[in-house]
């Protein structure tokens, strides 16, 4: 949708445009991307590496994946939201993931203008989180010489009916949005003793929320970053519902006196620190 | 030494399979291959083997692959329409490197076609029927005795190279009874078992053109088998380098061992000026035509591949260098002739005789081609 809006705006601005799109299983670590080329006469839709004017990354890892395509003096607009595919999910708790940290200075060594934005928050403030992509388009527009008339006409013609207003507002907000503050990623302190020991294998946990929703004693919670935390270890009665219902084999419940197994990157809430 | 017996091609196939150590048959009835199943169900259980009639040809080859993974030598037999259904699992067996033998007794096609008539219409399907880049070993016997020999060879090659091997002959050979003397025993090749302990074993660990050892399910080695592109652990991967290495190895384990696989018969070719290229049942007519042509003073010869895939490019190229004319006779509209032309590379004139009317190619018409204007065919 977003790439179609870009392409449509470029067409409206009088360019010859070619767009290519690849869909993959992004949630399984695949890639979904679109190249757009424009000019007076475009033959191929694929952008060669090192020649893109702007890279619009709708997710942080995509910015890293594609930055080699940006030309010297070009720009990267990246949403700071992170979507951790299962394959990269090694440890949400300590952030020892194979998922790359958000780092505003990562591209400093290159002549690239960087804009890290929190599109979801901006869109939420405007009233609808689903307009986040229009915020990103607005930020992209700031790096391109296309009249807003064309952008807004493209948005109006392509977004679902009833959402034109919010998407145009999001686009305008995106034009002027400033760099977002990169969230601090602080590991949780290790847990506290409890009647039963709740071991969480964070590198396998996908943060699906089943354990915490089914725990009769409300011992577990998935926090805002999607990592599973023990919030009330004292209450654990050892019913094992969380363990039995964990689709990812990420939880082990041990009796109070059984020593936690030290092998493997687990951390046991029952162990003293 | 055994005594002569009068048996059908399809019976010879069963006897060859049993001699080679076949212990599992899964199949589905189809003309003109059904006699193989009907003989198997009588003979296989007596040898300690298992027979099952499956619900279709897809399931037949799946059951064969399952049995082979359990350590059995396993086979199925079919004809064109069923062979079409088996393509899915020919690819699967190729990718997973599970030995198995598939017999296709060819009948007229496309589709249900001419169920009771001979044909050589599946030559390209046997090579390219399943999707993706894959090697193929396809053997084409010309007589009842050769059906026996090549069935044994098919099992041996499939065990040696961990790959499906296709035995391709036609309705005439399948149903013809000939007097043959079968050997008391045959040389048998068995798949290589791993020589490492189970905990050190990875199922697809092999050098570039190598064939990995293969334990059976239940032998104490626990491993994963998948048709997805996989690494040495047998586990799926999207890594392009690993994919290329795997597909390349699947080809090279065949292509670097042509001396073990390829078999080409030549007859009176040494001083020939005109040669007939033929395989399967047509090879017999061609041989007769060569004999008659020689009697008429024509320097004729025969080149007949028993292994049609991998195609014997070197042998055909050498023959093409030598003769002035090469006649390619096939019971299809021209399938292997393209390979002959590619191998000959313009070194000789190539003449074709092709027919798809469900009738065999006779020696007389071939003789007529070699002796134009003599009225040999009248």
């Amino acid at each position: 949708m977003a790439s179609m809006i870009v392409a449509d705006a470029l067409v409206r601005a009088g360019h010859d445009v070619k767009q290519s799109e690849v869909h993959g299983m992004a949630q399984r670590g695949g890639s979904v991307f679109s190249h757009i080329r424009w000019g007076s006469d475009v033959d191929s839709p694929l952008v060669p590496a090192g020649s893109a004017e702007v890279l619009a990354a709708f997710e942080w890892a995509e910015a890293i994946r594609w930055v080699e395509y940006v030309r010297d003096g070009g720009a990267v607009v990246a949403d700071i939201r992170t979507i951790i595919p299962p394959g990269a999910c090694t440890d949400r708790r300590s952030w020892a993931t194979r998922y790359p940290d958000i780092d505003a200075g990562l591209f400093d060594g290159r002549h690239i203008k960087t804009r890290l934005i929190d599109a979801s928050s901006t869109a939420t403030e405007l009233g609808n989180v689903r307009a986040a992509n229009s915020v990103i388009l607005g930020s992209v527009a700031a790096f391109l010489d296309i009249d807003d008339v064309h952008w807004e006409a493209a948005i109006a013609s392509l977004v679902p009916r009833g959402t034109v207003e919010i998407n145009i507002a999001a686009f305008r907000a995106g034009r002027t949005v400033s760099d977002a503050e990169v969230p601090q990623q602080v590991p949780d302190p290790d847990g506290f003793p409890g009647p039963h020991q709740i071991e969480i294998r964070h590198e396998w946990c996908k943060g699906c929320d089943i354990c915490s929703r089914f725990c009769p004693e409300f011992c577990l919670e998935v926090d805002i970053d999607g990592k599973l935390v023990v919030v009330n270890a004292d209450a654990c009665t050892g019913c094992r519902l969380c363990e039995l219902l964990c689709p990812d084999f990420a939880i082990t419940i041990r009796p109070p006196l059984e020593p936690a197994i030290a092998a493997g990157p687990t951390d046991a809430t029952g162990s003293s620190t | 030494m055994s005594t002569a017996q009068l048996i059908q091609g399809n019976e010879a196939c069963v006897k060859g399979a049993l001699a080679a150590g076949c212990s599992f048959y899964g199949g589905y009835p189809i003309t003109p291959s059904s006699e193989i199943a009907e003989q198997m169900v009588r003979l296989l259980p007596k040898r300690g083997g298992v027979f099952i009639q499956m619900e279709d040809e897809i399931a037949s080859l799946a059951s064969v692959i399952g049995a082979s993974l359990a350590g059995s030598k396993a086979m199925t037999a079919t004809s064109g329409p069923g062979f079409s259904l088996m393509q899915e699992h020919i690819g699967y067996a190729t990718m997973t490197e599970v030995p198995c033998v598939i017999v296709n007794v060819m009948r007229g096609g496309p589709s249900t076609g001419l169920p009771t008539s001979p044909s050589q219409g599946d030559v390209m399907q046997a090579r390219w029927g399943t999707h993706g880049d894959h090697p193929a070993i396809v053997l084409a016997p010309a007589s009842v005795g050769e059906v026996f020999d090549l069935t044994v060879k098919a099992f041996n090659l499939s065990e040696r190279f961990r790959t499906p091997v296709i035995l391709l002959y036609d309705e005439i050979i399948g149903h013809t009874r000939e007097s043959v003397v079968l050997p008391d025993s045959v040389d048998i090749t068995n798949r290589t078992h791993p020589d490492v302990a189970p905990e050190d074993f990875w199922p697809k660990e092999a050098p570039p053109a190598g064939v990995p050892p293969m334990p059976g399910f239940g032998d104490g080695y626990r491993f994963h088998v998948t048709g997805l592109t996989h690494d040495h652990r047998g586990f799926p991967t999207n890594d392009g380098d690993i994919a290329e290495a795997l597909i390349t190895r699947l080809h090279q384990k065949i292509e670097t061992n042509l001396d073990e696989i390829s078999e080409v018969e030549t007859y009176m070719l040494d001083d020939a000026e005109i040669a007939i290229f033929a395989y399967g049942i047509v090879g017999r007519s061609a041989r007769e035509a060569v004999i008659r042509a020689r009697e008429a003073g024509i320097k004729a010869g025969l080149i007949r591949p028993l292994t049609i895939w991998p195609f014997p490019t070197a042998e055909v190229a050498a023959a093409a260098q030598q003769v002035d004319t090469m006649i390619v006779a096939e019971m299809n509209l021209g399938q292997l002739i393209g390979e002959v032309e590619r191998a000959a590379a313009g070194a000789t004139e190539i003449v074709s005789y092709l027919r798809v009317d469900g009738e065999p190619i006779t020696p007389t018409v071939l003789l007529d081609l070699m002796m134009p204007g003599t009225g040999a065919s009248s």
């Binding site: 084999f249 | 298992v50 897809i58 998948t226």
Partner: protein, 270 residues
């Protein structure tokens, strides 16, 4: 009791399935049943087709065969006949087992081959992106039924009883202890056992039909189940769930059981 994680190929974990997908719960319950029965893991063969559920076999330390789409019962038949001492377990999905593989499934049932089939029914094609399956309830949204499914759907257990399966059970993925029990029962049953496991697909079915994520879908199942014979650790575990969830109209538990001759192919006297 062994930690069931020792039955995993830990080097292959975490598995490929989406957050909240209950298929992993099913796998865990299955491993508990293998452990309960103390099966020799060298003699356990898991055979799968293609799809999300079929991917499970890659992660377990048995002899595992990830076959072609729908054909798992046919591979398993050859395996079992050639090596009768193997405990053969087929893992299939609703699309894999009932659409492309329907023929193989009913014939394995008819023959009463000694195997256990776990059919994980998530009512949709998950691996390919949420297309309608033969089990997608009428009216439900899938990517190929954007206006709601207008085809009737299969009752897999009725189909399998009709085909001759000698042991037919339906169980919910929300009920892990019950799953372990029925799986152990099924593996000790002589002949063809079929277990339909009502699983979930939060990523597609849940999202398209606005019925929530994994936790919501499991909760919804748990209150719909009238067949629970083992209370989940004696807890009233559904306090977060409204009691107004719709009735299922779907019976769980053992739906059919008989003992009849097991087919092992045409074979000689042993």
């Amino acid at each position: 009791m062994t930690d069931v994680k020792t039955y995993l190929r830990e080097w292959a974990m975490p598995h490929v399935l989406c957050p909240g997908c209950a298929h992993g719960i099913v796998l865990r319950s299955f491993l508990e049943s293998v452990d309960q029965l103390q099966l020799d893991r060298n003699k356990v063969a898991m055979v799968a087709g293609i799809g999300c559920s079929s991917r499970l076999v890659g992660y377990v330390d048995f002899c595992t065969l990830h076959g072609t789409h729908g054909r798992a019962p046919a591979f398993a038949t050859g395996l079992k006949l050639a090596r009768p001492e193997l405990n053969v377990v087929v893992v299939t999905g609703d699309g894999d087992g009932l659409a492309i593989g329907g023929n193989h499934l009913i014939h394995a049932a008819r023959r009463n081959i000694d195997m256990t089939v776990l059919m994980l029914n998530n009512s949709i094609y998950g691996m390919t992106g949420g297309q309608a399956a033969p089990t997608t309830p009428e009216g439900s949204v899938a990517s190929t039924t954007p206006q709601g499914n207008t085809e009737p759907n299969f009752d897999a257990c009725k189909l399998l009883i009709g085909a001759g399966a000698s042991h037919v059970v339906r169980v919910l993925a929300a009920n892990p202890l019950e799953m372990t029990k029925v799986m152990a029962d099924a593996m000790t049953h002589p002949g063809f056992s079929f277990i339909e496991i009502i699983s979930d697909c939060p990523e597609y079915f849940g999202r398209y039909n606005k019925v929530g994520g994994g936790a919501e879908m499991l909760s919804w199942m748990a209150v719909r189940d009238e067949g629970i014979t083992i209370p989940l650790a004696n807890k009233s575990f559904v306090k977060h769930v409204p009691s107004s969830a719709p009735p299922s109209g779907m019976k769980t538990g053992v739906l059919h059981r008989e003992v009849r001759p097991v087919y092992a192919g045409v074979r000689g006297e042993q």
